[in-house]
């Protein structure tokens, strides 16, 4: 499943690039609360990040991707963004395909993929843009749309002329320089601009020197950094940098690294880019051309060697990788170079969106903890982040549950896999309890499959939740169907590998949290039991019809995650909020039907079982406010079961106490 669509153009995709900042880099220096955050967009530009990294001698890497062809390809690429983003790229970039409706709202367009990277994956992203055969109006429209979507960086390219009879247009976009000028003219200094450099000269340029002069023009027109076409020898790049510096180009120049991943892809690339593969490489590769594993292994080794020379030269602040949308080779090269962040510092307990408007956001409801993209999607039109705060939840603006938004919600697993995990046929409610229990324990189900996800949890149990595994197992198999939980934490170091987040030298805290579905019979007993836990435990109990029982203050969010750091205000990034819970409730109940019930035939018993749960169960969240003590939430559930197991007279008695 290789996709070379990006190789079709000489300049627009293959040879140019730019990049990604991950949460490690964009680690917010701001705290929430009393100090309003400065315009985050403008004080944390890609050029500034590069400057800081260059000054501190801290090498970075960036990753280039191309837009996928299909919606399911897009879902996969977004997962890849998450995984590769966790390694700490300074930026990613997404190529532009003039023929593929790149500026549209399609799930697969360059614009939407870059927007997803920024908004949902929290990656600093560079959008490619080509200008050849485009009107100024069209380009301006693209720029405005990019701005609106939160994109802050453009890779300005000429792109290949369409058709063979292309001639320069007077006043049109004939070169990337024209595009750079247009961007600066239309958008002033808003975008950080990247341009392409050719270590061996652009194939269409009259000469290497002529091409260098073109590059100088692009930079002089307002570009902030250069990413180069790929090359195979370190000295090629180092000479190029020297020549650039000699004619007065002073901005960062990032080498484009292409780890060879296969014989055919290399051949095709070389043909399209008009590059020559050095003899010493061809000599190694030709003999093993049918052994993909051997070639990939060689490609990794070759890239690592070259990168080491580049980094050692002192001329290279960061490396830019042509990933071909694959991850193994690039990650391996980065690991061997020591640039892959194995444990990137988390600035907040959840992934921060890189949208300029949302960078200042520093509190979220806990409910979407396992569904962060859904949360961002549903609040995308939410203008109400006053000073980055949660805002007045009495007027929330959670988007409606629409079909379109399910793109961001849809399970990554195909229907067959889901049926294997969740059961081809359900016998009764207990069958559902078993699915939940197997998900918690990681054991295989009777048909021999592990339950790797649930409609509310795309991924296996989080390491933090794993701490609660035994207790979770016990309650799930009795019909307390947990979908979200966190242990209490009374001041662990912010560097803790499992629960830590935020700047060094701090302490993080949590209140124990438990969220689950359970039957209305259980709820009756639970409400009895909860009387004994006032005011220690706050609860919200709702059903799909909107019945809502709570002992929480109507409008008060309950902070359940917070951190104390040296020289800062308190940060309290996760809350249980009564109002947003009612919106989450709609989503949580909808997932029973959309993701689970619909796997089965209409009117089938399996479907009716899920429908019954959807219609009759309650969704409950519990917070134990006494974070310094051992969580009492397990005892609450235990007490509920005890009450249910006791003879009816005792229950009556209980209700009078």
């Amino acid at each position: 499943m290789q996709d070379y669509s990006w190789i079709h153009t000489c300049e627009s995709s293959k040879s140019d690039s730019s990049g990604v900042s991950n949460s490690g880099e964009s680690s917010k220096e701001s705290s929430r609360c009393s100090t309003p955050v400065q315009d985050a967009d403008r004080t944390d530009r890609l050029r500034d990040k590069m400057k800081r990294r260059i000054e501190s001698g801290d090498h970075w890497f960036s990753l280039e991707f191309f837009p996928p062809r299909t919606a399911s390809g897009a879902v996969n690429l977004i997962s890849r963004f998450d995984r590769m983003g966790s390694g700490g790229p300074l930026f990613i970039d997404v190529t532009w395909h003039p023929a593929g409706d790149p500026g549209s709202d399609k799930e697969t367009s360059s614009m939407m993929i870059a927007s997803t990277a920024v908004n949902y994956c929290g990656l600093e992203s560079v959008l490619h843009l080509t200008c050849c055969n485009q009107t100024k109006e069209k380009i301006t429209a693209h720029l405005n749309k990019a701005k609106r979507l939160g994109l802050k960086n453009i890779m300005a390219l000429r792109g290949d002329p369409i058709g063979e009879d292309w001639v320069e247009e007077d006043g049109g976009f004939n070169y990337a320089t024209d595009l750079v000028k247009h961007i600066r003219c239309e958008c002033d200094d808003y975008f950080d601009i990247c341009v392409a450099g050719y270590p061996t000269g652009h194939p269409e340029a009259e000469s290497y020197d002529e091409d260098l002069r073109h590059l100088k023009e692009k930079v002089d027109a307002g570009a902030h950094f250069i990413v180069t076409q790929l090359f195979f020898r370190a000295e090629t790049f180092l000479k190029f940098v020297k020549d650039c510096r000699a004619i007065g180009i002073t901005c960062p120049i990032l080498p484009g690294i292409f780890p060879i991943q296969g014989y055919h892809s290399l051949r095709q690339l070389v043909k399209l880019s008009k590059l020559e593969v050095p003899e010493e490489i061809m000599q190694v590769i030709e003999p093993i051309k049918d052994n993909d594993a051997a070639i990939r292994s060689y490609g990794i080794q070759q890239a690592v060697e070259m990168c080491k020379v580049l980094l050692a030269s002192g001329e290279v602040p960061g490396l830019h990788f042509y990933t071909l949308n694959r991850e193994v080779a690039t990650i391996e090269v980065l690991r061997q170079l020591g640039l892959w962040a194995e444990d990137p510092r988390r600035p907040l307990p959840w992934a921060v969106s890189a949208h300029p408007k949302r960078k200042v956001e520093d509190v979220r409801p806990i409910f979407w903890a396992s569904r962060p993209k859904s949360y961002i999607y549903r609040t995308q039109d939410w203008d109400d982040f006053p000073n980055g705060r949660w805002g007045n939840s009495s007027s929330p603006a959670f988007g409606e549950l629409t079909d379109y938004y399910l793109f961001y919600l849809k399970s990554k697993s195909p229907k067959e896999a889901l049926l294997q995990m969740w059961g081809e046929e359900l016998m009764n409610e207990e069958s559902v309890y078993e699915v939940f229990t197997n998900y918690i324990t990681g054991q295989t189900n009777p048909s021999g499959h592990k339950v790797m996800c649930l409609p509310w949890n795309d991924d296996p149990l989080a390491p933090e939740t794993n701490l609660l595994k035994d207790e979770l197992e016990k309650v799930n198999c009795r019909g307390v169907l947990t979908i979200n939980s966190q242990p209490n934490i009374n001041g662990k170091p912010s560097s803790d590998p499992i629960v830590g987040w935020g700047p060094a030298g701090g302490y993080v805290f949590q209140k124990a949290y438990l969220e689950f579905f359970t039957s209305s019979e259980n709820v009756t007993a639970l409400l009895q039991v909860l009387k004994k836990y006032e005011p220690r435990v706050n609860y919200h109990i709702v059903n799909v019809q909107g019945k809502n029982i709570t002992n929480a203050h109507e409008m008060q969010p309950n902070a359940v995650t917070w951190g104390i750091f040296p020289g800062r205000e308190i940060i309290q990034p996760t809350v249980v909020d009564p109002v947003s819970f009612m919106y989450w409730k709609d989503e949580a109940f909808a997932l029973w039907i959309e993701q689970w019930a619909k796997l089965y035939e209409d009117e089938s018993p399996s479907r009716m079982i899920i429908q019954y749960i959807h219609d009759n169960y309650f969704l409950i969240n519990l917070v134990d406010n006494d974070f310094p003590l051992d969580s009492c939430l397990w005892q609450v559930i235990e007490d509920m079961f005890t009450l249910l197991d006791s003879p009816p007279e005792t229950q009556e008695e209980g209700s009078q106490s």
Copy 2:
């Protein structure tokens, strides 16, 4: 020093009243941070507080005061507000003296005293207002001014006609009813309005029934509650309430309680108010008329007995006390009734201002901890409390240090007392160290006087600071002149009698804090030492010229007090803020000169010693960010002394390490 000026009018002062809410009552339900606080003014009105207390069967009390005659009387009254406010009155009220320029900006005017009670003492306050012989324009101006100053409640009175030839004016203010109507007409529902009731009928009324009808008119015109003229028998009041209810008066009716405090004051009061003292009381008092203590003791006993009957009747939600600006008798009555709050809950670590605009304020710099009135005064024009937050400290609006503002800063002790405490003659800087040390230890100085206050601390050491007494003593006697400090706290219950604050069931935290003056030689060593404590300790070191050395983030406040409560967001009410520290610095250095140096003759050695310290010492604050560990700040000071005591070579070495 008795002041009966208020007795001069029949209606305007003596017989009417209204009241005070203290911080216990106004305990803010809001937390800071993400949820914007609702319009605090309008959701927490006096009438609503009364309603809640009536519903919960929670009896309250209120206190009436009259404006003092002199500025020093005002300073004393403000201290009394603080002391009596701590007992938990629902409100206080301040009488109106038409002849005494009551609406002016004088320190002694009714308007300014009521404003001080609200703004600086955090007391819910009712301002009296009389309308007789006043123009509508004048009354409207008073109302607008009261509104501007943060007053929310008016006691609407007719007042006594000036001169003997008074006749009703057409369209003028002839009765309190006219004033009530005018307030409702001009200010809509803004003010809560109180009117006066006469249990034995107004002396000028044609009849008791006629007077009841007048009262009904006042209530119908828009009054929210009634406070009565004083009386001597419970049954007088209870009959009055019954009669009021019978004609349809449904609002709260508060009995005016007058604990008899002396024979002559009682006689004069009776004469002016045209009340008759019951025979059984006169029989007790006449024989002991020259024994003030005996009469006061009887007065207390008589008031307690009567109040018990009133409260037991179920008709009396709260008691209103005519204090005569004295505290002993009233407090004793309240103590015996069990209404005096011995340990009022603190909603925040500092006293909350009752100004509607400032009620939402929930964070302050720690620097003014011992000078809260000065802080409020200096930030009174500060509009920048967005959502009750500290706001962007980069544009603070701390008022200038002006002479006028020193009214709120001036020491309560006379010059002679200060000289006795701080030394008639200073020999050298060490004499100053001794003053500080004696203040800490509470020991008498060589001339036999205890140091009860310092220019930076009006009161003896706070109980919390007392926890640090031994360490403070050690460093002060060596010239580390501490003016503010707090111990670290790692999660004590919010109910802790010394360090607790906020709602029940919570936990409070603090970072250790130390603020002191010390010589520039010490600062040189301190800076050496502090290198070892990076980044654990944050410091700011400034001198009077504005030299400013810090390792703190330029714009980041450091939260040093915070609390975690059930079902709420985190509250972080005290911060160390780099910008406000520069303003505090001006005040802190000014106090050396204004309060201390000026006690001595110009050019005198004593004055020159203080001037020298003012000119050459630094003001330093230290925060230990590692709140779960034992404070390292004492070790920092210890290390500084060790370095100073070591031979010069070692110091050199130290500077290279």
